[in-house]
Symmetry: C2
Subunit: 509 residues, 2 copies
């Protein structure tokens, strides 16, 4: 039976936001192993930062914005899932595009490698150095430049935190077209560089569609100014897309213009228990047909994902235990119409048995509590010890096949295996938790999981990117001709290979 | 006063579809002047097609698919606004990607220039040869390959006609995410290559967002296979965007995968008379707020655009004369809810005086009649003799400024000057008609209009592209660094410059 949600759960903020949790644990735990040792990587033939280089950087940025103290540099060397650790000795914090340009021109000249870093919420080690790359942090490039309220065009610097920008545009009756668990920490420049997807791609589309303009700096310091904020501009090659999803290896995003849709006047959330995956799929088809243009998210999580998150983080689950859970959200302009559509859908699917139980709410605090449970899945497994995280796209009818397959393959070697994600986008996240990093489990998982995804014509990285962790698996989703063109583009744009080395491109291409 | 639309107008199909009109006029009119003479262009140092080349092409394609008869080749040499005429001697009609690959590898080897051609509905001379480039027509690559009804992913060949594909997916409760006046003739491969925008970009977004995958052939014949049909795939560089909007100069699109949204259950059209442009803008803001997620198009046309189209093509105008007209469309999943929202909007804006008079209809034939009037504006001016057509983006508050400015500048030298377009996208089409092509009017228009657009931070080509006609004006919208990167990409992808030469890139970059 459906009840309007009425418990008094407290709001727990996104775990992904709380790098504090991760960073707080360094003191009591061993540091993650060095990436170079853990993954047996050889340093490439770059220059090494010298005192004279540091002095040059200080001359551009001032003393305070050149960080060299080892303990201050440490957090920039470690990714938030504690999987990777680099060995950088220096973090630079530019405030302007001109400073970024000067730094890159100098590094290119001296063959010094650079690792751009936004909010450092990446999950494939793309945002931390591997060896002694200079970290270029965008935390001080965080200004909102302009907002056109009629067209919805926002222009801002790359280091703005997504949630801050979203709050800003909400005050002008607009929303950011993307939302993700890490929004309290991640930078919009990082979102663009990694082509972040997130929770509402189903409704508002991807960044290639939303991005209006970009300013980026090439490896040699050349500033590419494509920062127009027009919705239509067919004047020559659409250069901005080179910087979307190339993870800082072709150039570094410094500013962006993005289209913000109208803030919905009515938002409603449903959280449902479902008997099996087949019914989850049927429910998705039904929601698409019944809710049409107001459907803004359709997420699923299996029992293990929800119950372990609830247990590990002491977050209450508003429903009892079900094999599958569906979180459905609507964004609309008329509360009554939306409620009407949703009620019709609910009545139909309660009668049909696709929905076993559920809760529906429009109260912001209660919606936040349910979203929080969903979004906390990503990090909750950390408390089991170590997480192997996979983020794959699979044609929708086979969406959940890999989870039972992995459970069978790993048996008692894994603490948990669970799946959750954005079913409307065919994007499932599969997490495998173990007490600590374990080579045997790793070798049972990889490349097995990528081979299976490839057989299903899926993507071995749906939204997290390739980063440091996946270049050797990219060929499962990109053929030789595409990899050859990637290499050609890299050579064209960054001939010395100083931008985010050891990332994205496999060595053998 | 608003009346539900009830006249019995007959449906006239899109003029843009009727190449027949244009082609039918060759007999009674002089052929358009050769582009090379009209615009004083020098032939580049390409090879000339020899009998041996023709024999080679026949060996790949068979005799019938190598067209060399002068009168059969003629229509492929002329664009539909009769502005450009090339001098090609041969048209090739491949049926497979492999054939395209073989043709390009051969042409690249022999330095033979190639002009890819889809439906030949372009407005900037990009789809016709300038000298003796080999025309590569996609008219026989017109197969639909697959459709996933749950995810909405359609895969098809580049030469499919947009309207045919749209009809196909409509039978499966989906629609194509783009629609334009030329849909009965244009090819989806051409749409992608030119990043076509059209009538419903406001609702369904642009092709960079909708395109899921692409197969394209590079100048050297290498097939780049990025034809996955996943909504999320962050495995390396997002190569497909290189081919979107680069107008066949970086590679030739042979297949594509595109995301089709759900077919709306309810469609309603409103056609309104408005007092002045300021009120058009106010009405747009109000529609965005009131109609939110169901707003699918918001188009404007000035009095001259509507009355001259109505007169030239004998199409009835359902309203009397007003200074401005607005066409507003909704796509929704519930007819009652949509009517409710629209009525509320109408009552409010009739009371406020923003809408002076209008008509609202949900009957397909009547909606078609109104759309037909709007879509016919593009071609109706041909009957005045010759049209200068401009397609620019301008920040929305200045959207209409150029039209009165041009009227004043041209005075009686122009038959008519009118503006119409996609106000929701900041994209206005400005047409200037004259009895015949006239250098004085041309020099009063260009570069003046581009300078004005540049001052307003607009785009000198919003959706029509650069093609043959605008390379010399591209610098008004692209700075030197961006043009330099365009040139680098061209050299990388097509070092011999055989793909669609004389187009897009200015010579002096």
């Amino acid at each position: 039976m459906i009840n309007m949600y009425n418990s008094g759960l407290s709001i727990v903020r996104y775990l992904a936001k709380s790098n504090i949790i991760v960073q707080g644990r360094y003191a009591s735990q061993a540091l993650p192993q060095l990436s170079s040792e853990k993954y047996d990587v050889k340093r490439k033939n770059f220059g090494t930062v010298q005192a004279a280089d540091i002095n040059y950087f200080k001359s551009i940025l001032s003393e305070q914005r050149v960080v060299t103290d080892e303990s201050d540099v440490l957090p920039f060397n470690i990714d938030w899932i504690k999987n990777c650790r680099g060995q950088s000795k220096v973090v630079l914090k530019p405030k302007t595009t001109e400073e970024v340009s000067k730094i890159l021109a100098y590094c290119n000249e001296k063959r010094l490698a650079v690792c751009p870093q936004g909010g450092n919420t990446g999950l494939v080690g793309g945002s931390v150095p591997v060896f002694d790359e200079i970290v270029l942090s965008f935390m001080l490039m965080n200004k909102i430049i302009s907002l056109d309220e009629i067209s919805g065009a926002l222009v801002c610097e790359a280091g703005c935190i997504l949630e801050n920008v979203d709050n800003y545009v909400r005050n002008h009756n607009l929303i950011m077209p993307l939302d993700l668990g890490a929004k309290g920490t991640c930078h919009v420049g990082g979102n663009v560089s990694t082509n972040a997807g997130g929770l509402r791609l189903l409704r508002y589309g991807n960044l290639h569609g939303s991005l209006l303009g970009i300013e980026a700096v090439k490896a040699d310091g050349t500033v590419i100014d494509c920062l127009r904020s027009l919705k239509k501009d067919n004047t020559g090659y659409h250069l901005k897309h080179l910087f979307v999803g190339s993870e800082g290896t072709l150039g570094i995003v410094t500013k962006l213009a993005i289209h913000c849709p109208v803030l919905p006047k009515a938002v409603t959330l449903g959280f449902f228990g479902v008997e099996n995956f087949d019914n989850v799929l049927k429910l998705y088809r039904s929601a698409k047909a019944s809710l049409g243009e107001i459907l803004s998210a359709f997420e699923m999580a299996d029992r293990e994902a929800i119950t372990s998150t609830s247990k590990n983080l002491k977050l209450p689950n508003p429903l009892s235990e079900y094999p599958f859970y569906v979180l459905l959200e609507t964004h609309g302009s008329d509360e009554e119409h939306d409620a009407d559509k949703l009620n019709r859908f609910l009545n139909k699917e309660m009668d049909s048995g696709l929905i076993l139980d559920g809760t529906v709410t429009s109260e912001p605090a209660k919606m936040q509590t349910i979203w929080n449970l969903r979004e906390s899945i990503a990090g909750a497994g950390l408390l089991d010890g170590y997480i192997f995280k996979y983020d794959v796209s699979i044609p929708i009818v086979k969406y959940y096949d890999l989870v039972p397959l992995l459970r069978q393959r790993l048996g008692s070697k894994a603490t948990r295996v669970y799946g959750y994600g954005h079913i409307g986008d065919g994007n499932i996240h599969i997490n495998v938790t173990v007490p600590e990093y374990n080579k045997e489990v790793s070798s049972l998982l990889e490349p097995f999981i990528f081979e299976e995804v490839s057989k299903l014509q899926g993507s071995v990285s749906a939204e997290h990117g390739i980063g440091f962790r996946k270049p050797q698996y990219i060929h499962y989703s990109k053929d030789r001709s595409a990899l050859g063109l990637m290499r050609d583009l890299k050579t064209l744009m960054d001939p010395n290979g100083i931008l985010n080395p050891y990332k994205v491109l496999p060595d053998d291409v």
